[in-house]
């Protein structure tokens, strides 16, 4: 039943997004593709952070893996698009497996440290092996033109938006079902009480690694989509800033909820563009106009998280109140994440001299 409901919602959304993409101009279509690919990446991250209770400031590195996989496959083997996207997700999942195994023993800030350094180190390989990865210039992504049956005048940006939105909807359906499955429940158990979960017979290490694999696969798919929408893959697209933006989007939107992933993606794509528009239309000097969006984005982050501690989705739920079935409300971040904080506090009291 749940599967049917999720599928139905996805089909309705697909129709709405399709109509929207026709109504919007080329730049808005581009933004739509951007939002959709961030939904894929943040959806995967919110599963990792919100459901399994691990942190990653390195998912931009998995996006890089996916993007370079896609670029290389399109360039050398000219695979069909769907196969390229699947392969990108699969290769990134392998990278996620490696990181997950290394990270399974690490907690909190130590895991944050490893993933942060991963986000710095992995893209630097592209400049080390210039012959394969094209160095700082990166690789061009040979994206296929829209299929012939759509007509010869079909805009490329709309086609890119369709690809990204389709991928996002499929990812959301899969993640929503995964979250409701036995695996999703086991992740919540591990997140809320590791020892109790282990006593109940759950394989804690395997579950934590699996969460990393899922989130890396999503990031890899998102990276491939990023390469396709920007038709370029270069180390400059996969900086630490990207990884931090993903985590920020997941937390701002509301951890552990897929609707939150959508909110977060809308914020990190639309807020900077919107502020730039306002700044340039007021004729501010170029140094100020170029940096106001950055400063304003920082202010938005601080304001949103201080005003809505459970993220935007948490605020929406409180607003809707009783309209939301009680069973769902339990997922909301605050209670569970607070409990996750508890071991850290214990640790501090015993650890400090």
């Amino acid at each position: 039943m749940t599967l049917l409901r999720h599928l139905g919602a996805a089909i309705v959304l697909a129709v709405i997004l399709g109509l929207l993409s026709v109504a919007l101009n080329a730049f808005r279509d581009y933004q739509m593709a951007q939002v959709a690919l961030y939904v894929v990446a943040i959806g995967g991250l919110t599963v990792l952070v919100g459901l399994s209770g691990q942190i990653s400031i390195g998912n931009g590195a998995f996006m890089a893996v996916g993007a370079y996989t896609a670029a290389l496959l399109l360039m050398h083997l000219a695979w069909p698009l769907a196969a390229v996207l699947a392969a990108s997700a699969a290769i990134a999942a392998l990278a996620g497996l490696a990181v997950g195994v290394a990270a399974a023993r690490l907690r909190g800030p130590y895991l944050a440290g490893v993933t942060l350094v991963l986000a710095v180190a992995l893209p630097s390989l592209a400049t080390r092996f210039t012959g394969v990865f094209g160095g700082d210039q990166g690789l061009a992504v040979n994206i296929s033109t829209p299929p012939a049956f759509l007509g010869s005048n079909f805009p490329l940006t709309r086609w890119q938006a369709w690809i990204s939105c389709a991928a996002a909807l499929i990812t959301l359906v899969l993640l929503a079902n995964l979250g409701r499955s036995r695996i999703g429940r086991s992740w919540r158990a591990v997140r809320d009480h590791e020892a109790a979960a282990a006593l109940a017979g759950l394989n804690v290490a395997a579950l934590r690694i699996l969460a990393f694999v899922v989130s890396a696969a999503c990031a890899g798919l998102a990276g491939a989509l990023l390469g396709i929408t920007t038709t370029l893959v270069s180390p400059g697209s996969f900086t630490v800033t990207l990884s931090i933006a993903l985590l920020t989007g997941a937390v701002l939107g509301g951890l552990g909820t897929l609707a939150g992933a959508v909110w977060g993606s809308l914020i990190i794509v639309l807020v900077p563009t919107y502020v730039t528009d306002v700044a340039t239309s007021h004729g501010l000097s170029s140094a100020v106009a170029a940096n106001i969006p950055i400063a304003a984005y920082g202010v938005v982050l601080i304001a949103v998280i201080l005003l809505f501690p459970d993220g935007i989705q948490g605020a929406v739920r409180r607003l809707l109140g009783p309209a939301v079935p009680a069973g769902r409300r339990k997922e909301s971040g605050s209670v569970t994440t607070q409990r996750r904080h508890a071991p850290a506090t214990e640790h501090s009291e015993e650890g400090a001299p």
Binding site: G113, D310, E350
Partner: protein, 291 residues
């Protein structure tokens, strides 16, 4: 052999900078269980202030002192911004510090522009020799290492021998117990952030002559300082210094013998190896698990 000596001494100088950033992170972590991602941006901002003072007065030390004072103030201000997020889910405070990082970098770009600026050194940068052997370091590198060491010792003395230090340790141990005993916990936390801001500002002024100054100039230094703190164990100030030195020397060997583009990968490798052996860092307390 001479190369080895040069790389080692140069690595110590860089390592002390990572150690300073690591120390500032440890100070805040111990007090508030928050990782301050804005630490690098705060140091960048105070270094801009130092540069303006130096250009106005022509006196390096005037800029140096003002930067440290600005670090104190900025640290205290940032603590006040982060405080409402304390007691909320732990990632909320992380997001606030990330917001501060982005805000400070944006402000720096708005006020000072994005161009690269050079920053003066305190002492000569001509290489030192003993007999006929070049050491690969200059008086300025000695100053860098000495200044961080002095700051670390001063902090240790503050915590060990003063009443304020005792109160801060009590707060870090258990804020509830400390406030029952009459410690003004809020003030201690603000003071901890202020001291961290000061140490960060010191690192900024010391490292910037070798990196240039621009709104993102401290990003990579911050990542290395964070790595140093994690290698050492986030609860341990000694660990931050040791971690910084290990990282500085190792990465200087890598960049000298193998090429600078491999530095990030070896940084990752060092971090992973250390945490595989000790998941809470070299000097961190063994993780206790709630059952």
């Amino acid at each position: 052999m001479q190369e080895f000596l040069e790389f080692t001494l140069g690595g110590i100088s860089f390592g002390m900078i990572y150690a300073a950033i690591g120390l500032s992170l440890v100070l805040i972590w111990r007090g508030t269980r928050i990782l301050n991602y804005a630490q690098g941006a705060m140091a960048m901002f105070t270094t801009y202030i130092a540069l303006i003072i130096i250009n106005h007065t022509g006196n390096y030390w005037a800029g140096f002192v003002v930067a440290l004072a600005a670090g104190l103030v900025l640290g205290a201000v940032c603590e006040r911004v982060v405080r409402p997020a304390e007691g909320k889910p732990p990632l909320n405070a992380v997001i606030v510090t990330i917001g501060l990082l982005i805000l400070l970098e944006g402000l720096a770009g708005m006020i000072y522009g994005g161009q690269f600026r050079s920053f003066p050194t305190a002492f000569s940068i001509t290489g030192l020799h003993i007999g006929g052997t070049a050491l690969g370091i200059a008086w300025n590198d000695v100053f860098v290492a000495g200044a961080v060491l002095a700051a670390a010792l001063a902090l240790a003395a503050l915590f060990r021998y003063t009443r304020v230090g005792l109160r801060m340790r009590a707060t870090a141990f258990s804020s509830g117990v400390a406030s029952l005993l009459g410690v003004r916990v809020g003030r201690m936390l603000t003071l901890g952030w202020a001291l961290a801001g000061l140490i960060g500002a010191l690192a900024g002024v010391l490292v910037t002559p070798s990196t240039f100054l621009y709104p993102n100039s401290m990003d990579s230094i911050f990542v290395l300082g964070f790595t140093a703190a994690v290698i050492g164990g986030l609860d341990s100030p000694v660990g931050a210094v040791v971690g910084g030195l290990i990282l500085g020397i190792l990465l200087n060997y890598v960049s000298g013998y193998l090429g600078s583009d491999l530095v990030p990968i070896f940084g990752l490798a060092a971090l992973v190896v250390v945490l595989m052996l000790r998941p809470s860092g070299l000097f961190g307390a063994a993780a206790t698990r709630q059952v």
